[in-house]
Structures are given as structure tokens and as C-alpha cells.
């Protein structure tokens, strides 16, 4: 005798159809939609690059426009001296309202003042990079800006920042 159920213990096959309760009709679609949307990247990180320029200075900022609570991301700034003379100092500053939405901000090169980095002796055509590491501390939509001021230049260059942090 094998372990298979003998005929007396078997039940005859019945037609089977899966039916849902009304509550399941309501609740299951969103439940199943969450992993599908996640697979499509809806809850994932998104990045953007924004360029801006003014007299004597060109800025390019690459940052995460969407990421999750407590995750760490980097804001990368590319500063280029487009003037015909050396800029003694260029101050790159992150809007404090925007910065306050994040914790453990790490600036490379190191911040000279809160949320400010100073680049010195930027020669014509020279490019400098600034990195800011940001840990998402508050969820929701955050807006702010990043600006760069070159010594002796009439205007500042300002780049708007928009980031959404998932709970």
C-alpha cells in the first residue's frame, strides 16, 4: 500500500470558482496594486538635474526629487566659472528652510557657515564640485533653493529644489 488516499477516503471532485466578498472586492485591488506600483518604481527614488547660469557663473544641481524617510541621498553641485577672470570666492548656500527638513547634513568641502560652502580662487573655465549628504527627516513635500554667489559678480544664481519624502 502506498501512502495515497484509497477510494473510500477520497471525495469526488467538485467544480470550483473563486468568489470574493464585497469587502474583498473593495480592499483587494489597492492591496495588489501596491506591489505592482512598487515594481513600476512609483515608490522609488527619482532624480533630476537642474541647470542655471548667471553672469560669470554656471550651476548644475543633481538631486533626488523623491525618496523615503530616513534614507540618505546626495545633492551634487557643479559650479563653473564662466567669467573671464578668477573668482576669489564663490559661496554655495543651501536654503535653510529646505535644509531644516533633513538631518545629518554633511558638506564636502566642509561648510564654512551653516549650510554654506566657500570655494576659493576659481579660475576662468574651472569647475568645482560640492556634495551635500542629506538624510530625510520629515516626510512630505519640501521646497527650497540652492544659490551661488561669486565675489564681484552682480547677481546670484539660484536653483529651485523640490523633494518629496515618502513616510
Amino acid at each position: 500500500m502506498s501512502g495515497e488516499l484509497p477510494p473510500p477516503l477520497r471525495v469526488s471532485a467538485q467544480p470550483r470558482r473563486v468568489k470574493l466578498h464585497r469587502f474583498q472586492w473593495i480592499g483587494l485591488p489597492p492591496l495588489l496594486a501596491v506591489p505592482l506600483l512598487a515594481l513600476l518604481g512609483v515608490f522609488g527614488e527619482t532624480w533630476t538635474r537642474v541647470d542655471g547660469s548667471g553672469p560669470g557663473l554656471a550651476l548644475s544641481v543633481e538631486y533626488a526629487t523623491r525618496y523615503r524617510y530616513k534614507q540618505i541621498n546626495t545633492l551634487q553641485v557643479r559650479v563653473e566659472n564662466t567669467a573671464t577672470r578668477t573668482l576669489d570666492t564663490v559661496v554655495v548656500a543651501l536654503d535653510s528652510t529646505y535644509a531644516a527638513r533633513f538631518s545629518t547634513l554633511v558638506f564636502v568641502p566642509s561648510a564654512r557657515a551653516p549650510f554654506e560652502v566657500e570655494l576659493v580662487d576659481l579660475e576662468p573655465g574651472e569647475v568645482a564640485l560640492v556634495w551635500v549628504e542629506l538624510q530625510a527627516e520629515r516626510y512630505g513635500r519640501h521646497r527650497g533653493f540652492l544659490e551661488a554667489r561669486g565675489s564681484g559678480l552682480p547677481d546670484t544664481v539660484r536653483i529651485p529644489l523640490r523633494t518629496y519624502i515618502f513616510p
Binding site: 500500500m1 484509497p6 473563486v18 492591496l31 506591489p35 512598487a38 522609488g44 530616513k70 513616510p167
Partner: protein, 159 residues
């Protein structure tokens, strides 16, 4: 995206491991089996969430798991063969008073355990057991001879 794939992988892997372990793992647990079942979620929780402790990640992981459980349950109901694959099949341990050694060995269910279930069913002798079946849940069902059935010993003699 990674959370969905990781949760899906863990679900299938744990299902596969539990199926390999056999039916008895779903029934009364020995200390060794209990340790294994307690350690599995502990070991996999980090693998699923990694360093992402956001509510979004938790919701994605739970939705994925619940979705897989529902889909598997619907498929096992609709397609019995798929059900056999996921849950396994009941297997006969005792047939008309005779132990089926092959099933007992394969399911690692000793005669003592069958005897214990027999006592709970109010049956004293193995000869009085018509069928003992290990169900897909790991529990052992005992069907004894009832009045009107062919006398167990007589039937065995005839056979």
C-alpha cells in the same frame, strides 16, 4: 521595487523549505523545529527591509506578502493540482489495521505518535484502526471501525 522582489523571493523560499521539511512541521513542534520557525523571520527581516525602515517600505512588504498569500490561496482553491504542490497531499499511515511503513518513514511519524492519536480517539488496538491519515496540516486523523463494518480481524483474514 527591490522590496517586492525580496518579499516574493522570501515567501517562495520559505514555502519551499517548509514543504521540504514535511507535514509534521505544521503540527506539534519539537523544540528544534520551534527554533527553526522562530529564526526564519528573524533572519529574513533584515534581508527584506535592509536599511529602509520607512512606513512606505513596510506597507509595500506587507502588501506584497498579503497579495501573494491571497493569490496562492485562490490558485490552490481553483486548481487542486496547484494546491497539492503548495500544501501536499494527505497520506495514509495505517490501512485496515496495518501500518504503512513507507508513509511513516517518509513523514517521520513513529508508531508511538499514531498510538497517541488512537488513544485520543478512544481506540486501544491498531487492529481497530480502519484508517490513520496524516493530513496536510500535519495532524493525524484516525478512523476506527464502526458497528456494521466488517469485523477487523475477519477482514484481515479474508485479505
Amino acid at each position: 521595487m527591490e522590496t517586492v522582489l525580496r518579499t516574493g523571493f522570501v515567501y517562495l523560499f520559505v514555502l519551499f523549505v517548509l514543504r521540504l521539511m514535511g507535514k509534521r512541521e505544521f503540527s506539534d513542534l519539537s523544540p528544534v523545529e520551534l527554533i527553526m520557525l522562530l529564526l526564519i523571520p528573524e533572519l529574513f527581516s533584515q534581508g527584506i527591509v535592509r536599511e529602509d525602515f520607512s512606513m512606505t517600505n513596510a506597507v509595500i512588504a506587507v502588501s506584497t506578502l498579503a497579495g501573494l498569500v491571497f493569490v496562492a490561496s485562490a490558485l490552490t482553491y481553483r486548481f487542486p493540482r496547484f494546491g497539492d504542490l503548495v500544501h501536499g497531499r494527505p497520506a495514509v499511515l495505517v490501512a485496515r489495521g496495518e501500518p504503512v511503513r513507507e508513509t511513516m518513514d517518509r513523514e517521520r511519524i513513529p508508531i508511538d505518535e499514531i498510538a497517541s492519536q488512537m488513544r485520543m480517539a478512544g481506540i486501544e488496538r491498531l487492529e481497530d484502526v480502519k484508517w490513520a491519515v496524516v493530513e496536510t496540516s500535519g495532524r493525524v486523523s484516525i478512523v476506527g471501525y464502526r458497528e456494521g463494518d466488517v469485523e477487523p480481524r475477519t477482514e484481515r483474514t479474508v485479505r
